[in-house]
């Protein structure tokens, strides 16, 4: 076993152990952890028995096992980026929903057409908007937001 193989085995073994801990502690769903564990095990096999990847590559019409690993890694990374993007998009959507709720709950009722003609601002926020509305003081709201 070369030094690099040794590093790979230690790193992948560590990841597998971490996955096992996550499984025991219930930090993530079992199917997700199973998928991760499978990935680390395949990595360990490839690190310990590189010739095995060449055999699998041959079955798929790829000449070298290293090429197979490279293609799989590239595909995995692209899929990972896409999944991250989708998740980020979902988080952004949630952020917008939250922002919208805050905006509606703290709606400020102002003077409307007479607002700059002495009637002033400071009416109550809409009652149906729910929990404590901002009492119409823009300065206060700006300081707290």
């Amino acid at each position: 076993m070369t030094a690099f193989q040794l590093i790979l085995v230690v790193a992948l073994g560590g990841l597998l152990a971490g996955t096992a801990v996550a499984w025991i502690k219930g930090w993530a769903s079992r199917p997700a952890l199973s998928a991760w564990a499978g990935l680390w095990i395949v990595g360990l096999v490839a690190a310990c028995r590189p010739e095995a990847t060449t055999r699998v590559a041959g079955l798929l019409g790829i000449r070298r096992g290293a090429d197979l690993l490279l293609y799989c890694s590239s595909l995995g990374m692209l899929a990972g980026f896409f999944m991250m993007y989708v998740r980020l998009r979902r988080v952004r959507t949630d952020l917008t929903v939250l922002t919208r709720q805050v905006a509606i709950l703290t709606a400020h009722e102002g003077g409307g057409r007479d607002g700059d003609r002495g009637r002033g601002s400071g009416g109550p926020a809409p009652a149906e908007a729910g929990p404590p509305p901002a009492k119409g003081d823009p300065e206060t709201f700006l300081k707290t937001s």
Binding site: V86, R89, R92, T93, L95, T96, T99, R100, V102, A103, I104, T106, A107, H108, E109, G110, G111, G112, R113, G115, D116, S121, P126, E128, A129, G136, P138, E139, F141, L142, S145
Partner: protein, 231 residues
């Protein structure tokens, strides 16, 4: 002035504003003289847009963080519906639109028996529309026709009116500028009757500088297509 039996006091005009401190006061003064219920959604501005809006608009909402024009419009529409709006109008904050066009849009809803009235600068008139922008808008019209199936003369005009029924069916999920195309898709999918109303759009140095750059088109298109694909 009525639309389907409602007066202008039942009309809520939603103005999404982001760093419009230079012009928002004039826009709101003009608008409030025509329609009493003006709802400004300040989209996390860093200038004095919020303070000015609080003074001049009937209602002012503030996004604590910037979420984009589509998100701000949806916030304003949701708020207007909560307030019991019979008609919801969207109106740009940069001074491009004329407040006098708002009653005309609202009247069109009744006259044309439609649920959505879309302002069209190409059926109406424009002041100072740069040639490059005219070209870009024409291209956007062609794209919108192909994407949504709506045969419109103008694609991204911010002046629109919705009956309550239509506003309740609008659910803008694309937060940023792609919402304009998403909105047309939703109108097409809803099957609600729509009409176009000639409006006047004035391009000032300010609004031209504030508007979208041509270079932003690919990004907007990407967000729109991705939004469509992911639902």
């Amino acid at each position: 002035m009525t639309a389907k039996g409602v007066s202008l006091t039942d009309v809520y005009v939603v103005v999404a504003a982001y760093n419009e401190g230079a012009v928002i006061a004039d826009v709101l003064r003009e608008l409030s003289d025509v329609v009493p219920n003006v709802v400004v959604v300040d989209d996390g501005s860093t200038d004095d847009t919020y303070r000015t809006a609080c003074r001049l608009a009937r209602w002012t909402l503030r996004h604590p963080v910037n979420r984009g024009q589509g998100a701000a419009l949806q916030t304003g529409i949701a708020f207007a519906l909560r307030q019991g709006a019979a008609v919801v109008v969207t109106f740009d904050a940069d001074g491009q639109h004329r407040p006098e066009d708002v009653p005309r849009l609202v009247q069109s809803l009744e006259r044309e028996r439609c649920d959505v009235a879309l302002g069209s600068r190409f059926l109406g008139t424009t002041d100072g529309l740069p040639a490059s922008r005219r070209l870009a808008l024409r291209a956007a019209v062609l794209f919108s026709r192909a994407a949504s199936g709506l045969q419109l003369s103008d694609a991204h005009n911010g002046l629109r009116a919705f009956t309550r029924r239509a506003a309740e069916r609008i659910d803008l999920r694309l937060d940023r500028m792609a919402h304009a195309s998403e909105l047309l898709d939703q109108i097409a999918r809803s099957g609600l009757p729509y009409c176009e109303v000639p409006v006047h759009v004035r391009y000032t140095e300010y609004s031209t500088a504030k508007g979208q750059r041509l270079g932003a088109a690919p990004r907007i298109l990407f967000h729109y297509l991705l939004g469509r694909a992911l639902g």
